[in-house]
Symmetry: C2
């Protein structure tokens, strides 16, 4: 059975896709068999690997609503050992379609339970909808990218409430792997104020590795490549490789 | 009757809240009577004005589902001539509640049609749900903040499709006031590549005013103030005042 990791934060633009794409790539580079499941109708993780969007049911949408076998739509990427289930815009209809389905909270869990990867990383959309409840219910672990900005910090309490209510009801074993500080800008004192705030409050729950703001990360996405393949020497690439090491070390401990 | 303006983009973290808060403040500073309607369950626009979140129905949630009179919950802010209808976390349940209501697409339109402001700015959540359909249906104009990044650019086509289908069905008179380039970073060549791309493609639809990346903008939010009140001399504040002038000039023309 695979370890399923939801990369989630309802706040928009905090680095969920960037973290899902680059952490998964670094974990695959270390030798693990990895699947990225793009659950965002925007399909940025799909583009981040230079892959084409899915076509209707032949996508994460088909898998989520139980119409498509996940193994059939998992595509090999050019990253050794890394596969992707692409997203489509049809996913935006899934919120409403799921509402009237039986077992609507556990459709995804049922759809991916037999997949055989070391790790499955789910890139979640912003917001609080059924897609994200499904992702939390299907996951063993949670990784929370947190932009070093005030509005992002403000949203953490709501996120923890949502996680707690999923744990109390449908997924008792859900564990928070950690909070990843992203887009940390040394030049801007707000970054260190936020980072210190988060560390003093959440202590060991915060990864030691911090992801700096690094233009090579956003350039990489426009070339359809993870930053590790786009520019391995960049601070962005190095920080995601360090994060992968720390993530796997935390896995061993738990 | 008020002119209703939706500040919208399904991509997360592109500067919707920052633009709603600061454009509204600058338009109020020029002498207009303005309302900001916070339709995001995260409630960042409410915090951006230093206001307390709504309590259950006494909020934008109550207004949206038709249980609360909008005039009863519009609160005066410390910005002269600017009022706010605060958000609450209950809004995240609205997506599902609206689904089974009659006239679910026009609940907001009906709720705000008699309000008497010069301008009503709606801060929309990220994503594609019913809350955003309601906002588009209730609006006369649309302002689209666009972060100068590749993933944000990629999402524009989907946004225009959604706007077009709203125009073809429930709101024929909906006009795009313009696209606002946000977080433009002179040090990073990607910003100018994206900006040139957008201008060559969308021509006059793109505001001349560009909002630079400016740390005073994000600092202001942590002080519960629009940047215009936090640091009037900053490049961020100046650019939003210029934007307000350009916005009002476009209003005169249309
Ligand atoms: N460390 C970084 N340095 C510089 N740019 C970054 C960094 N991390 C992410 N970005 C850029 O910031 C933007 C937002 O990141 P991303 O799209 O990964 O966030 P997200 O949380 O997935 O957004 P959404 O809520 O829309 O899904 C992207 O354009 C991305 O390229
Ligand atoms: N021009 C700017 N310069 C620097 N920081 C900015 C600028 N505009 C916005 N920000 C910061 O970037 C982050 C994202 O902006 P904002 O929250 O306004 O985006 P949003 O589109 O409303 O996000 P969401 O999709 O979550 O609603 C915020 O922390 C904000 O303070
Ligand atoms: Mg994303
Ligand atoms: Mg916002």
């Amino acid at each position: 059975k695979s370890t399923v990791v939801a990369v989630i934060n309802q706040k928009g633009g905090v680095g969920k896709t960037t973290t899902a794409v680059n952490l998964a790539t670094a974990v695959a580079a270390i030798g693990k068999k990895v699947l990225v499941l793009d659950l965002d109708p925007q399909g940025n993780a799909t583009t981040g690997f230079g892959m084409a969007k899915g076509r209707s049911l032949k996508s994460s949408y088909g898998v989520l609503i139980g119409m498509t076998d996940a193994n059939e739509v998992a595509e090999k990427t050019y990253v050794e050992g890394l596969y992707l289930i692409p997203s489509t815009i049809d996913l935006s209809a899934a919120e409403i379609e799921l509402f009237s389905m039986k077992d609507r909270d556990s459709k995804l869990k049922a759809a991916i339970k037999d997949l055989e990867y070391d790790y499955i990383f789910i890139d979640c959309p912003p917001g609080f909808g059924f897609i994200n409840i499904n992702a939390l219910n299907a996951s063993d672990k949670i990784v929370i990218p947190l932009q070093c900005e005030f509005y992002a910090l403000e949203g953490l309490a709501q996120l923890f409430n949502t996680i707690q209510s999923v744990r109390n009801t449908i997924n008792k074993n859900l564990i928070i792997s950690g909070i990843i500080l992203t887009m940390y800008d040394r030049r801007n004192s707000l970054s260190s104020i936020i980072a210190n705030d988060v560390r003093s409050h959440f202590k060991n729950l915060v990864f030691d590795t911090v992801i700096p703001r690094n233009v090579r990360i956003s350039e990489a996405s426009s070339h359809g490549k993870p930053v590790i393949l786009y520019d391995i020497r960049s601070t962005g690439a190095i920080s995601y490789i360090e994060l992968a090491r720390e993530f796997l070390a935390r896995e061993k401990e738990s």
